[in-house]
């Protein structure tokens, strides 16, 4: 057996890490809830596992999403993750090839050059040796970049980087020390034994000229082992817990496990997967000077530490820009929302959400303007005009009085109350017998689509209007206005509707693109998700977003959300219009009369029937 006392710190650290991880993950998996085990078991041997493995390779090792943020930043992460991974795997192969058997002492491949002193002669071993040196160089380049980033993060596309706690800084120091120590340990050994390759051998020879390498080698190997062991002991308590947790998170996500509405089980996997890279900081539109250390990275850190986070949880627009860029893909806005959950016993008074009076006639299409739709009469009226012209029979669900869909309560963390409020609207929708529900408000849309779980088509009006145009129900004049489209948070990032509004707009005029569009789209500042923000700060955001959209002096800014329209109109130089309004303006009403006569005929026929 190959053994030296210096391997003890490494073995102790490794053993400790394994025990802690098993214990922690065991507890969280236990908290996943009923049905989770069955779900995992069912999807274990399906394509989902393969997809998850691919994602683990792409995200945990290659860091594809970080590359998209900045190539240099991506390279830095990849060199450390992929480089270290390959160093371990190829080191194992090298050791196995050398001994001729697959199993050997688990620390042997890591300290291979210490135990195997003879200069390698066969070609294969020389190749392995060179490969290992190359990988070490690859990692060291990443460490050098990481060091550089500490002083100048802007060089890697990050204006602000995370301010770490002292614990994290210690863990970081340990991580950085691992690889230079390995380089020196191997070089010193190569200095007297000649078992190095293109990197370690020349360095070893050089060191041999000025230092007593034979005497220094063992202490440096001791240092390498202690640092490795120390890092593994620090790992579960530092941000490096993300290394093992992220892998598990990706598998669990692909197997269809969803976080519950409390901080337990899956939420812990998400919390501990945060690597505190700080990419989310620059994306936050809340003023960094005022909202110091309130961005997601800090919020998750406080949440993980078990501190009081109510204040922090409320101080967020819930626009989802951070979630869109998060390289780990954590459901960040959900974590904020469920942290807002209140334990008090306040309930919504039942008189606030009376049941909706239903008309007896059945229609295929329901239209729901929503609270915000009611506050923007332009959108409502445009929709009425369009629907009238199209000849579609529809029921305007909240024409007389507006009803709340319940999402504002949900965003405020009052899930049970939101559920209650939504019940009556749900009943009205189901009992109407319609097969399509059209809404003008992306907030209602999100809530109808994801929370109500009704068995009918839920469409945002931009989707529905596109259907009407494509189906030839309405026709529009195309103009040559220069338009810019603003993606509403709830419609774009939260519901994934990006193309339909754009398709309509290209029919209406020429659509110019701005850089911050699609998932990167700015928040208009009117977000219902933030309850405590002052009007001054809100206006700052509204102003900067309006200015940004006006940068190319478009003839009109188009959006698809009443709230965005209201927020942007305040500060925009060019007019801000909803898609429905733009269509209503450019509607060709030549067929309108035909429809009208048809409709009255139909009504007459119905009357005769009854």
């Amino acid at each position: 057996m190959r053994f030296d006392y210096f391997v003890v710190p490494f073995c102790a650290g490794f053993g400790y890490l394994i025990i802690v991880l098993l214990f922690t993950y065991g507890r969280w998996i236990n908290e996943l809830g009923e049905g989770a085990a069955l779900k995992i078991f069912k999807s274990l041997l399906t394509r989902k596992t393969l997809l998850a493995s691919r994602e683990v390779f792409q995200e945990c090792l290659v860091h594809r999403k970080v590359f998209r943020v900045n190539p240099l930043l991506g390279y830095m992460h990849m060199s450390l993750a992929l480089g270290w991974f390959l160093l371990i795997v190829i080191g194992k192969f090298e050791a196995s090839y050398f001994t001729g058997e697959f199993t050997n002492e688990f620390y042997f491949p890591i300290f291979f050059r210490f135990f195997e002193l003879s200069p390698h002669r066969t070609f294969t071993l020389q190749f392995f040796n060179a490969l290992m040196d190359f990988l070490l160089l690859f990692i060291l380049s990443g460490v050098a970049l990481a060091l550089y980033k500490r002083f100048k993060s802007s060089a890697m596309g990050m204006k602000n980087s995370t301010k770490h706690t002292s614990g994290d800084k210690w863990a970081l120091a340990l991580l950085w020390m691992i690889f230079p120590l390995r380089l020196f340990a191997e070089s010193l050994t190569a200095g007297f034994a000649g078992n190095g390759s293109f990197l370690t051998q020349p360095l070893g020879n050089l060191l041999g000229m000025i230092l007593p390498v034979r005497m220094l080698a063992t202490p440096v190997w001791w240092g390498y082992s202690i640092v490795l062991g120390g890092f593994m002991v620090a790992l579960p308590y530092s941000r490096y817990m993300h290394i093992p947790t992220e892998i598990l998170l990706i598998f669990l996500k692909n197997w269809g496990i969803k976080p519950k509405d409390s901080i337990s089980g899956m939420a812990f996997f998400e919390l501990y997967s945060c690597s505190r890279c700080g990419i989310c900081i620059d994306r936050c539109q809340l003023n960094p000077a005022i909202n110091k250390k309130n961005q997601m990275v800090y919020f998750l850190r406080e949440l993980r530490a078990g501190n009081e986070v109510t204040q922090m949880a409320h101080n967020c627009l819930l626009c989802g820009r951070c979630q869109e860029i998060c390289p780990v893909g954590i459901d960040l806005t959900n974590l904020r929302t469920i942290s807002r959950k209140q334990k008090d016993n306040a309930h919504i008074h039942s008189s606030s959400y009376p049941s909706i009076p239903m008309h007896s006639f059945s229609t295929k299409v329901l239209y729901f303007a929503g609270c915000m739709g009611s506050l923007t009469p332009g959108i409502r009226k445009s929709m009425e005009t369009i629907l009238e012209v199209s000849g579609e029979k529809y029921l305007f669900l909240d024409k007389e009085k507006s009803y709340c869909c319940g999402r504002p309560l949900k965003l405020a963390g009052r899930l049970a109350e939101a559920e209650k409020v939504s019940q009556n609207i749900k009943e009205a929708i189901v009992s109407s017998g319609a097969n399509t529900l059209v809404t003008s408000c992306p907030i209602c849309y999100k809530s109808f689509k994801d929370d109500y779980k009704c068995e009918l088509r839920v469409l945002h009006h931009s989707e529905y209007l596109l259907e009407l145009i494509q189906g030839g129900m309405i026709s529009i004049r195309s103009g040559n206005k220069r338009l810019v489209y603003h993606d509403p948070c709830e419609l774009g990032r939260k519901s994934g509707i990006y193309t339909q509004p754009r398709e309509i707009l290209t029919k209406l005029g020429s659509l110019t693109n701005v850089e911050e569009a699609y998932g990167k789209s700015l928040c208009c500042g009117g977000s219902l998700g933030h309850l405590t923000i002052s009007m001054e700060e809100r206006e700052q955001i509204q102003k900067s977003t309006a200015e940004y959209l006006n940068q190319d002096n478009p003839d009109c800014i188009a959006t698809a959300c009443p709230l965005c329209k209201k927020s942007l109109t305040k500060f925009s130089e060019s007019p801000v219009k909803d898609i429905a309004e733009l269509i209503a303006e450019n509607l060709i009403k030549s067929n309108y009369k035909d429809h009208k006569t048809k409709k009255s005929n139909l009504a007459e026929a119905v009357r005769i029937d009854t």
Binding site: I348, L531, S534
Partner: protein, 111 residues
Amino acid sequence: MSEWGFTVIQTNQSDMDQMDRGLIAKIGNAEPSIFWCIGCGSCSATCTAAQFNNFSPRRIIQAIRSGQVKDIMGEVNKCLLCGKCQLVCPRHVNTRNILLNVKQIMGQDAI
């Protein structure tokens, strides 16, 4: 007097002895914009919940400010937090946060 078609209207003066300054102190701290309210009633006019009952954000703000907080809890529970009040407020009062704070403070007291 009823023969004349008139009734005596109930007094709406504040009883200074009944004043409870506790709530306004807490809320004024958490959401100072409560002091900017001019009582115009735009919030109550646009309120979603008020279409169906006698809920009035304006009345609640006035009640908190004048320390008449006895029946407020039952009232705030009628709020749906939809945020329309805030959009129409000419004084930029964060009405939603005021009501949320009342819910939180009174809710905690209830426990």
